[in-house]
Structure formats: structure tokens, C-alpha cells
């Protein structure tokens, strides 16, 4: 399937990426080739085959619901690009 430049821009937008216009053509071509190759899957008969999302037989990993020490505030905020007192700072969201 041919993947258009517009499609790549649309999907990039869904993933919150803005693509560099200069490398757009190469990028769309490379992605197109990979998507074409993936199309090989359509030649496999999979009717009635259950999908696998987890390779090991494990279900319902329960644990006790107990109080535990977690990262303290100082550590939690230690890598924040911008912070104030006990908060992460983000750009204005409402009315911006």
C-alpha cells in the first residue's frame, strides 16, 4: 500500500510529532517501504487463530493492597524541566 506524505503528517500529528519538511520525502519513503513489507502478513492464514499479547502463561498477578513508601516529593520533582514548590509547571492550558 502506498503511504502518502499527507498520511504520514496526519499520523505524526496523532503522535504529537512535527516532521522536518526537508527530510519529509525520505521519511515517507522509508516508512512506506516498511509498511509495504509488513503487508506480507496478509499472506498468512489466521482464521480462528487467537492473538497473543503475552508470551508466558500468567494471569491475574495479584498482590496485597498495603501501604508502602513511595518516592518522596523532592525526588519526584528532581528531574522536572520546570517546577514551582510542589508542582510541575506546564504552559497555560485554558484560554491559551
Amino acid at each position: 500500500m502506498k503511504i502518502t506524505k499527507d498520511k504520514v503528517i496526519h499520523v505524526a500529528n496523532l503522535a504529537r510529532l512535527e516532521l522536518d519538511k526537508a527530510s519529509m520525502e525520505t521519511f515517507a519513503n522509508q516508512i512506506g517501504r516498511v509498511i509495504d513489507y509488513i503487508g506480507l502478513l496478509n499472506t498468512v492464514k489466521t482464521e480462528g487463530v487467537k492473538p497473543t499479547t503475552h508470551a508466558i502463561f500468567l494471569t491475574n498477578a495479584f498482590r496485597e493492597d498495603e501501604e508502602k513508601n513511595h518516592l518522596n516529593l523532592k525526588k519526584t520533582l528532581s528531574n522536572a524541566p520546570e517546577k514551582e514548590e510542589e508542582h510541575f509547571i506546564v504552559p497555560k492550558i485554558i484560554g491559551g
Binding site: V11, R16, E18, Q30, V34, I38
Partner: protein, 486 residues
């Protein structure tokens, strides 16, 4: 013999007999890094100060007579395993200054043994790649030929072991990222069964495929590290509550009663280098000569593994990497000033091109209207691949194959051609899809003197039998003893 050349097992003996101190050993390793790493660029961060402090502590433990197998042993860590207080970059600009506030489960286990963390080693950004060329930090060179790639994504980890810049290392393997660089650098590398080792504190790429594992100078060292890092961890709900055997105690000689399977599909793989093919055939003959029976097995769906893998891994990656939004940690670029602009600008400037490519492929495969055609289809093919392996393991104990279709390729050779790069993982990624363990051990050299690895795959939680085959092969050969000259 220089101290940095020791295997973990040799070092453990000298340390417990107090012939050598961990401070001497660690200093020798750091000195070695300072001498040769300007050629290979394996390390992103050398944690000299904390390493020497850990060595001092280890010497104290040893003097008190409480030496454990890894006490005082200098280990290198792939730069996507969180180390408290030591920068963990994932070789990405987006985490360039990230200092984890906690240790990964495997790091805690190493520290509990008194191991020394020497530093953090290079990789493809977020482990996406097969050559370590997709690092935004530096370009790592193969010590056997500096013009070639070391393999990837755990390229730095493999180089650090091969060039004696640590005694052992931890990498991660999502589609071959431990085994392929181990093969290209002539060291031993193991991807354990999915769920054998806790992923807590491993920065996620594709959560249903990722697994941490060791890279070492020989098979016994690999077993030593496996014993320490394996086991159930309540912080990782996909880790499996199963006892961990002492792998090093299971090293019996001889392979009588062991059946090895050779997949017929792999013998006609397009692009399989004749020298690699010859080295694997010769390794199989050696293993037969030690007493194993050899049969042909069939894995009819492995030809679809690359396609299924790139759908599943990219889809999971696109979801996992959504967390990098410039808010809680890592790089931020304000962009046009509003929230969406900040997200877009942060992610576009913070992620490298390969990571962006995979996020777009993954988002495309998961997007409305395509989910059934790609993600669901790939997950069904994954089932068929798992069934192939479980059928094969009814007739054999281990499966042997090449690790990579060619020896290490030249830097730049596949950089602009993602699909060809992806196809170089053809022999390794089935094990990740099936969740089974796989390892690479040195089994030969090309005419240009480049290492070639043999892949041994086992059934779920059957690492013991793989170690048995690997140990016997290693005893009968000397490929693992040869070293690159730097």
C-alpha cells in the same frame, strides 16, 4: 595477566582469597577505559567516584569474610537501566540529563551482592536499532575492526566486555539486542525467558518483548550473572514466580541424551553469509561430536517474524514513548508556547529519527481502521510462531541457528535503509515473540577476522539446558579466549 583481563569467576577467586582487592581491580578497569575507550566509545558515563566507593565497601565485606559471587566485581550497565544518582540517558537527547531517583530491580540485586557499577554504556536510542549508530550520544566502534558497527542495541555493553573495560555487563534484548552485539563482538550474551528477570526500572521499549540479560567473557560468567539477576519481583507483574536454579552447578560435561534441532527454514535464508553458514555447520558438528543427537526441525512461520515483530514492537513503543512530553522529566522545548506546541516541539527535537520513524509506524498500525489489519494480524502470527517453537521443542532440547546473517557490517552501510537494517534481526526476534530464551556464544571468525556467534534457543525457563550445551561447546573450542587488539 592484567587485572582487567580477568573473567568474573577468576576475579571472584582472587578477591575471596584476598590476592587482589576490589579497589585494585576497579582502578585497573577504569584505567583500561581511559586508555582504550577513546577508540571504541563504549561508555556514555564512567561513574569513577561511586565505583571506587563501592569497591571500598566491597573490600570491607570481603575482609569480613562475607564474599558473595559478585562482591567487588566491576560491571557495566546499558544506559536504559535506571541507576539511582547516575545519569541514565537511553542514548536520547530527551533524557540527556535524567538522573533516576531509584535503582532498577537488577541494580538493587547487584548492589546487594556488593558488585561495583563502573558506568553506563552506549546503545541505540531507546534500544531501537541493530548497530548502535542510532545513539544521540556517540558512535561506538567494534574493537575487532574500528570501521565496523559493534551490533546493537546493546553495542556499548558488548564492546565493554570484548575490550576488557568491565568484567561483565547487563544489556536488554527486545529483538536481538543482547545476542546480536554479543555475536559481532565475540562475547557471550543471553536473553532470558520473558518473565525470568524483573523489568522494574528498565526504560520500556516494547513491554511484551523486552528482557534484561548478561553479556560476559564466557559461559560460566553468564550463568553467574543470570543466577543473581533472575527471580520474581512483585514490582514487575510480568515477572514469573518460579525458583531460580544455580545455573553454575549444572555444568556437567558431555551432551549424551541431548537432542539439538536445526530449523530447515533457516538454511535457505536470503542474505545468509557463506562464512557464517560454514561456522554454524562446523559448530553443529562439534556439538554432535560431544555426544548430542542432531535432528532437523521445522518452524514454518518464522519467515513472517520480521513483519510481525515490527508491527508489535513499534506499536508498543509508540504507546510507551507517549510519556515523554516535557512535563515530568527530561528535555523540554517550549515551541510556540501553548501546551500542544510544547509537546510537539519537545518530542520532535528530543527524539532521533529512528525513534520517530518507529513511533509513526506504531501509531499508524494502531490507528483507526488499521488495527485489525496490522496489530491484530501480527498478534495472530505471533501465536503461530509460538506454536512452531512449542512443536519443535517436543522433539529437541535446544535449537541452533546463526545469530546474525553476516558478521559486523561497516559503519554507515545500512544507516539510511531501515528495512535492510530490520532484516538483519531475522534469526533473533522470533525468540522475543515466543518469549523463549536465546543466547549467543562465539563459534568462529570470518576470513577478515570478525567474530561469528552461534545462537542457542531453549524452551521457556529451560536456560539450564542451553548453558549445558554452551558450556560443553566452549570447553571444546577456543573462540571465546581470542581477544581484539586495541
Amino acid at each position: 595477566m592484567n587485572l582487567y583481563e580477568l573473567t568474573m569467576q577468576q576475579a571472584h577467586r582472587l578477591l575471596s582469597e584476598k590476592e587482589v582487592s576490589s579497589q585494585e581491580l576497579t582502578a585497573a578497569v577504569i584505567d583500561r577505559i581511559k586508555t582504550v575507550d577513546e577508540k571504541t566509545n563504549a561508555y556514555i558515563t564512567v561513574a569513577e567516584k561511586t565505583a571506587m566507593e563501592e569497591a571500598r565497601l566491597a573490600d570491607k565485606i570481603i575482609s569480613e569474610g562475607n564474599t558473595l559471587p559478585l562482591t567487588g566485581i566491576p560491571i557495566a550497565i546499558k544506559d536504559l537501566i535506571c541507576t539511582e544518582g547516575i545519569r541514565t540517558t537511553c542514548a536520547s537527547k530527551i533524557l540527556e540529563n535524567f538522573i533516576p531517583p531509584y535503582d532498577a530491580a537488577v541494580i538493587k540485586k547487584l548492589k546487594n551482592e556488593g558488585a561495583v557499577i563502573v558506568g553506563k554504556v552506549n546503545m541505540d536510542e531507546f534500544a531501537m536499532g541493530s548497530s548502535t549508530e542510532h545513539s544521540s550520544m556517540k558512535l561506538t566502534h567494534n574493537p575487532w575492526d574500528l570501521e565496523r558497527i559493534p551490533g546493537g542495541s546493546s553495542g556499548g555493553a558488548a564492546v565493554a566486555v570484548a575490550a576488557d573495560m568491565c568484567l561483565g555487563s547487563l544489556g536488554s534484548d527486545t529483538g536481538g539486542s543482547i545476542r546480536q552485539p554479543a555475536s559481532h563482538c565475540g562475547v557471550v550474551g543471553m536473553k532470558p525467558t520473558y518473565g525470568r528477570v524483573s523489568r522494574f526500572g528498565l526504560v520500556a521499549f516494547a513491554s511484551s518483548l523486552d528482557q534484561i540479560g548478561p553479556l560476559t567473557k564466557n559461559v560460566r560468567d553468564c550463568a553467574m550473572l543470570m543466577k543473581v539477576i533472575s527471580g520474581y519481583d512483585p514490582s514487575d507483574s510480568t515477572s514469573v514466580p518460579k525458583d531460580v536454579p544455580d545455573y553454575t552447578l549444572l555444568f556437567q560435561d558431555g551432551l549424551k541424551g541431548i537432542t539439538v534441532g536445526i530449523p530447515k527454514e533457516y538454511q535457505s535464508t536470503k542474505g545468509l553469509n557463506p562464512e557464517v553458514s560454514a561456522a554454524i555447520k562446523s559448530a553443529v558438528r562439534t556439538i554432535e561430536a560431544i555426544g548430542a543427537d542432531c535432528i532437523e526441525v521445522s518452524l514454518p512461520h518464522v519467515e513472517y517474524a520480521v513483519a510481525a515483530y515490527y508491527v508489535i514492537a513499534s506499536s508498543e513503543a509508540s504507546s510507551n514513548l507517549a510519556r515523554y512530553d516535557g512535563v515530568k522529566y527530561g528535555f523540554r522545548d517550549k515551541g510556540n508556547g501553548n501546551l500542544l506546541g510544547m509537546y510537539r516541539s519537545t518530542r520532535s527535537k528530543g527524539f532521533g529519527t529512528e525513534v520517530q520513524r518507529r513511533i509513526i509506524i506504531g501509531t499508524y498500525c494502531l490507528s483507526a481502521g488499521y488495527y485489525d489489519a496490522y496489530y491484530k494480524k501480527a498478534s495472530q502470527v505471533r501465536t503461530l510462531i509460538m506454536e512452531d517453537f512449542s512443536r519443535a521443542f517436543k522433539t529437541c532440547h535446544v535449537i541452533l541457528s546463526p545469530v546474525a546473517p553476516t558478521p559486523a557490517f561497516k559503519i554507515g552501510e545500512k544507516y539510511d535503509d531501515p528495512l535492510t537494517m530490520y532484516l538483519s534481526d531475522i534469526f533473533t526476534l522470533s525468540a522475543n515473540l515466543a518469549g523463549i530464551p536465546g543466547m549467543s556464544i562465539p563459534c568462529g571468525f570470518s576470513s577478515e577476522g570478525l567474530p561469528i556467534g552461534l545462537q542457542i534457543m531453549g524452551n521457556h525457563f529451560n536456560e539450564e539446558v542451553m548453558f549445558k550445551v554452551a558450556h560443553n561447546f566452549e570447553k571444546a573450542t577456543d573462540f571465546h579466549i581470542q581477544k581484539p587488539v586495541l
